[in-house]
């Protein structure tokens, strides 16, 4: 807790974790009043690619609550000092476990020169560098989201591939079994009739 009191900027956290079925995973962060925060999440693999998300402030007031969302981004400014909590829930699912990615940005990124006092304004070169840096950051962010969507598509394709193989072999097997048993059953009808006629005869 003392960590954030002296630290003006807190780095963002970006994590991908697995959420088992009927499970709930919560994360907490201590935030100072007035900090602009963004929570972004995306379901990478699992079932219908949806998860429940809930964000609460230190007093328990729900700031954001969405059920069965695939992807969302929520920005808010901290109105109170304290521990904010956000939870991802897969409790509605009975057997599919999900992989969830989230990116929780708190405040601004730390400047490159934290010990400097910015007395003079940035030169043109420096401000060009700063704007390129910001643009590249958003490129990296888009790349991440693209990668997650591609991972989704890829896992579906691999799943489909194994299912096609499994069910094709299964169906061929069932076909053979059913047709052979049909013939055997039909034969047994006629065989039984013959024995009953002989029994009646004697």
């Amino acid at each position: 807790m003392s960590g954030f009191l002296l630290c003006g900027w807190v780095l963002g956290s970006e994590l991908t974790f697995e959420l088992p079925d009927n499970a709930k995973q919560c994360f907490y962060e201590d935030i100072i009043i007035g900090t602009k925060c963004t929570l972004e999440f995306q379901v990478v693999t699992g079932g219908h690619y949806d998860v429940d998300c809930r964000l609460e402030d230190p007093d328990g007031t729900v700031l954001y609550k969405e059920m069965k969302k695939q992807y969302d981004s929520f920005t808010f400014t901290a109105a109170k000092n304290g521990t904010y909590k956000f939870c991802f829930s897969n409790e509605f699912s009975t057997f599919t476990h999900k992989t969830v990615y989230f990116d929780f940005q708190v405040g601004e990124d730390p400047p490159l020169f934290p010990n400097e006092n910015r007395v003079t304004a940035l030169t043109q070169m420096e401000s060009a560098c700063v704007s390129i840096h910001e643009a590249l950051k958003s490129v990296i962010d888009y790349q991440t989201h693209f990668r997650l969507r591609e991972a989704q598509g890829r896992s579906r394709a691999e799943d489909l591939n194994t299912r096609v193989a499994f069910w094709s072999i299964g169906e061929a097997f069932i076909l053979l079994v059913v047709s052979i048993s049909q013939v055997v059953l039909l034969r047994s009808f006629f065989s039984d009739k013959k024995t009953t006629t002989t029994r009646v005869g004697s």
Partner: protein
């Protein structure tokens, strides 16, 4: 005097932690928490964690606990373990990926002292930095004696490097996706043909077998 000790303690904590992200979660005693990082090859990952144990008497989380360690295990995309080490209640682990793909970072506590947990939860502060974010620019500036502008350009170079690696990895992933789709296409084609052939063959066999059966029974 008490406030001085407290201040010193605070300063010590801050100097040590140096602004580690304070995102935390709770973990049970035997629970294993895993995080997935999908990264291109030759990418460095630095993970920092800090644990706090719940003290039932004081009803709060203690800042640091002796004898409580975390076991960190990192697996590469081929399920091979590339890092498997035990750290103390605070730790920092680093690894560089040699294969592109999903790396799994798992943490679980090595609770040797049962009494420590006493049915409570362990609070784990975790921060994972990937690629360009692992660079300590202050250190780089001091070592290479770079001016401010040079350092900014260096940061941009590192960022672009990361973007390039990710694009490369994307090409590799897309190739795998294409291979999977081609394989599915082939499988669907072949199995449809095989199943139709089986169906026709079975039909013929059935009729021929039954015809010979009935002829033997003198019903036809």
């Amino acid at each position: 005097r008490c406030t001085l000790v407290l201040l010193f303690f605070f300063l010590l904590l801050n100097v040590y932690y140096s602004c580690v992200s304070s995102l935390y979660f709770h973990i049970g005693e035997t629970e294993k928490k895993c995080f997935i990082e999908e990264i291109p090859d030759e990418t460095m990952i630095i993970g920092n964690y800090r644990t706090q144990l719940y003290d039932k008497q004081k009803e709060e989380y203690l800042p640091a606990t002796q004898g409580l360690g975390m076991f960190v295990e990192v697996k590469d995309p081929d399920e091979k373990v590339i890092l498997s080490r035990q750290y103390g209640s605070e730790g920092r682990f680093t690894f560089t990926s040699h294969t592109p793909g999903e790396h799994q970072i798992c943490l679980h506590s090595n609770s040797s002292k049962f009494a420590l947990f006493a049915g409570g939860m362990l609070r784990v502060h975790l921060d994972i930095q990937v690629g360009e974010h692992t660079n300590n620019y202050a250190e780089i500036a001091a070592k290479d004696k770079l001016t401010e502008l040079q350092l900014r350009v260096r940061q941009l170079v590192e960022q672009v490097d990361q973007i390039q690696k990710e694009q490369n990895y994307q090409r590799y992933r897309e190739e795998r996706f294409r291979q999977t789709s081609e394989s599915t296409n082939q499988r669907v084609l072949w199995w449809s043909i095989v199943q139709t052939l089986i169906l026709v063959a079975i039909g013929f066999w059935q009729m021929r077998h039954l015809k010979s059966f009935f002829e033997a029974k003198k019903l036809v």
